[in-house]
């Protein structure tokens, strides 16, 4: 049985087709989910893709967070379903309080698109087990509001519990606290990541293919489960 990985399309989602492509290249079946539909169509895991849902108006992710599909996803995430939020998806996860902290305007005040080096800090989440801890990868980063911020004690807690999933290396592109590029919940099934692994899955179109591991990881997790 093929693993079914849902990809949600909110109004203004942009990298939804790209996330579907990455799921396919990883060997799973991508399932398109519509924001107004509460039904998750028997998926095993879900990706909240990048983009500018609702134009990033009000706050990034703030309006999407209240869509019908999110009600079910929040429920299922609490029951352990793997959820990966990329860029705007990460913002939706923070607005949904599935992940702590918030993402704010880049310190440069500019949108930035670059090939970014990351270090995988936690290789035990549902989305990172195909990496090894400490492994460095290069994937595209593209955001205007990617600066991760949280209270001091939240940051300390994230560090202490090993919940920082990935960190920026060489250059912190947006002023994220403690160079944080991605975090996970305590259970390790919900991961938010500001850079775009789905754009590093083919040698032709990406800087590397080192992003594919996120999508193969979840397959392994589900098969083993």
């Amino acid at each position: 049985m093929t693993t079914r990985v849902g990809v949600v399309t909110f109004p203004g989602s942009l990298d939804d087709r790209d996330a579907q492509r990455a799921v396919r290249l990883a060997g799973a079946e991508p399932v398109a989910l519509w924001h107004r539909d509460k039904d998750l169509h028997q998926i095993d895991a879900v990706v909240l893709p990048g983009g500018f849902s609702y134009g990033d108006y009000l706050r990034c992710g703030a309006i999407s967070r209240f869509s019908p599909v999110m009600e079910t996803i929040i429920e299922q995430a609490k029951l352990g379903m793997p959820v990966l939020g990329i860029c705007n998806g990460f913002q939706v996860l923070c607005e949904s309080h599935l992940l702590p902290g918030a993402l704010t305007r880049n310190d440069s005040l500019h949108f930035i698109c670059r090939d970014q080096k990351l270090r995988i800090e936690n290789a035990e989440t549902a989305w990172t087990r195909d990496y090894s801890a400490g492994q460095e990868i290069v994937v595209p980063l593209k955001n205007g509001e990617g600066r991760f911020v949280a209270d001091q004690h939240v940051l300390d807690e994230l560090e202490a519990e090993g919940r920082v999933v990935a960190r920026y290396v060489d250059l912190n592109p947006n002023g994220s606290y403690r160079d944080i590029a991605g975090i996970t919940n305590a259970a390790g099934n919900v991961v938010g990541l500001m850079p775009h692994p789905e754009h590093a899955v083919e040698p032709l179109t990406g800087p590397t293919t080192e992003g594919l591991g996120f999508f193969t990881s979840v397959l392994k997790q589900l098969v083993n489960a």
Binding site: Y54, G55, Y57, L58, I63, F66
Partner: protein, 84 residues
């Protein structure tokens, strides 16, 4: 220290995509009866000296040339009283 507040809003005739997106979302969340939403910016300026006419004139100039883009935005300047 005295505080002067500058509110910057898009001119009424200018399209406000953000306000419209918020307005459309409100009924979905059960907040009915809101006819229109416009979103703006609020600047709080802490003055070193007293709020006199000269200071206000300077702030108006700053608002006119810098804080607001008067091609598409209006602004208001007001003094925030103590205790508010």
């Amino acid at each position: 220290m005295a505080r002067v507040v500058v509110d910057v809003m898009l001119k009424p005739e200018i399209l406000d995509p953000q306000g419209q997106a918020v307005q459309r979302a409100l009924p979905r969340l059960g907040f009915d009866g809101i006819a229109d939403v416009r979103q703006g910016k609020r600047f709080e300026l802490e003055l070193e000296g007293p709020v006199d006419d000269a200071a206000l004139a300077r702030i108006r100039e700053a608002a006119e040339t810098f804080l607001a883009n008067t091609v598409i935005e209006d602004f208001t300047v007001r003094i925030e009283e103590d205790g508010k």
